[in-house]
């Protein structure tokens, strides 16, 4: 990144922070945590925030619409619902083909995350896909299918052998 691009990205960060007021920050921080299993959870949360239920619901709809909120949903334990294996499959894709290839990878149901990151010295991989399977074989099979569809076979399948932490974000 050039110095100017760095400055531009810092400015963008600062701007997006300013457009969020204190109540938004409080809502985001609270909603990123577990929501209560009571008949009217938004009323309970609103009272914690010192706001009204209707106001909170309006805010949630607005965050969803703006893309600030991806979803308000259950986070399940993959292993406990049968998806025992998660693999980060890293791919060596020519930079000029990475956008097109990433888009193809994203179309696979078994791919939950797909990102492009920089290659670095001693590391030729630039696309990262997270895949989940009931068996290791399922993961390898999916990687093979992706390779076939994209035409790029140079990958490494990195299973997680230990989960040290998986938690929500502390906003």
């Amino acid at each position: 990144m050039t110095a100017l691009a760095v400055i531009a990205s810092e400015v963008r960060e600062a701007v997006s922070k300013e457009t969020m007021n204190n109540i938004d920050k409080k809502i985001i921080s609270l909603l990123a945590q577990d929501i209560p299993l009571v008949e009217r959870p938004f009323e309970a949360l609103a009272s914690k925030l010192g706001t009204q239920e209707a106001e909170l619901i309006k805010k949630l709809k607005a965050y969803k619409k703006s893309g600030q909120m991806r979803k308000l949903a259950a986070v399940s334990n993959h292993r406990k619902i049968g998806f025992k294996y998660n693999a980060m499959v890293v791919w060596n894709i020519p930079e000029d083909k990475s956008e097109k290839t990433g888009e193809i990878m994203a179309t696979f149901n078994g791919v939950s995350h797909c990102y492009q990151r920089s290659k670095f010295q001693g590391w030729k991989y630039n696309l990262y896909t997270m895949i989940h399977g009931k068996t290791k074989k399922e993961c390898f099979d999916l990687a093979a299918k992706i390779a076939k569809k994209t035409g790029f076979e140079d990958n490494m399948v990195l299973f997680s052998s230990k989960e040290y932490k998986k938690t929500g974000v502390k906003y």
Binding site: E13, S16, M20, D24, I28, A32, Q33, D34, I35, L37, E39, R40, P41, F42, E53, I57, L60, K61, Y63, S66, G67, Q68, M69, R70, K71, L72, A73, A74, V75, S76, N77, H78, K80, I81, G82, M88, E99, G102, M105, A106, S112, H113, C114, Y115, Q116, R117, W123, H132, M156, L158, F159, S160, S161, Y164, K165, K166, T167, G168, V169, Y171
Partner: protein, 156 residues
């Protein structure tokens, strides 16, 4: 090594599949979901409570796009001697900015994600981690250049 998979009832499966999509933004969201699943609300709440208790559901919460709410995120790869990895992972976990941390069997064997208020904070945390963990032989910060997909949904 791994505990035998607890088998989930048909209704639990329906609940899990449904709850991986948005909870409706209405006054009584559980009641709305109960109607969709054709069970009563009390039973739904009881089943969800149980699924949380046995750890099938970790939590029900909002997921934000960090970049759109004034935060920034990254993935970090580290090379650690295998005898030190548990110890190092535990120290790293102490930072609340670390959200995921996995051991993966490869040359880079520790992979963790960070979400923080600024790029400066991320750099600071990474400097501290390097300073306090001499066992880390190499550490690479890999912020995403492009996001193609994010959306975990498991059909059970």
């Amino acid at each position: 090594m791994v505990k035998k998979q607890r088998s989930l009832s048909a209704i639990d499966k329906k609940i899990i599949n449904r709850l991986q999509r948005d909870i409706p933004f209405v006054k009584k969201p559980w009641s709305a979901i109960a109607r969709e699943l054709e069970i009563d609300e009390a039973r739904l709440l009881k089943r969800i409570g149980l699924l949380k208790k046995i750890g099938v559901i970790r939590r029900i919460s909002a997921t934000f796009n960090p970049q759109k709410v004034g935060f920034t995120s990254t993935l970090v790869a580290a090379k650690v001697a295998s005898r030190d990895i548990d110890k190092v992972a535990k120290r790293i976990n102490a930072y609340e900015e670390i959200t995921h941390n996995y051991k993966r069997d490869s040359e880079y064997n520790l992979w963790f994600t960070l979400v923080a208020r600024s790029k400066n904070r991320i750099s600071q945390v990474l400097r501290e981690i390097k300073r306090d963990n001499k066992e880390i032989k190499k550490l690479v910060n890999l912020p995403a250049k492009r996001l193609f997909k994010i959306g975990v949904k498991f059909k059970v």
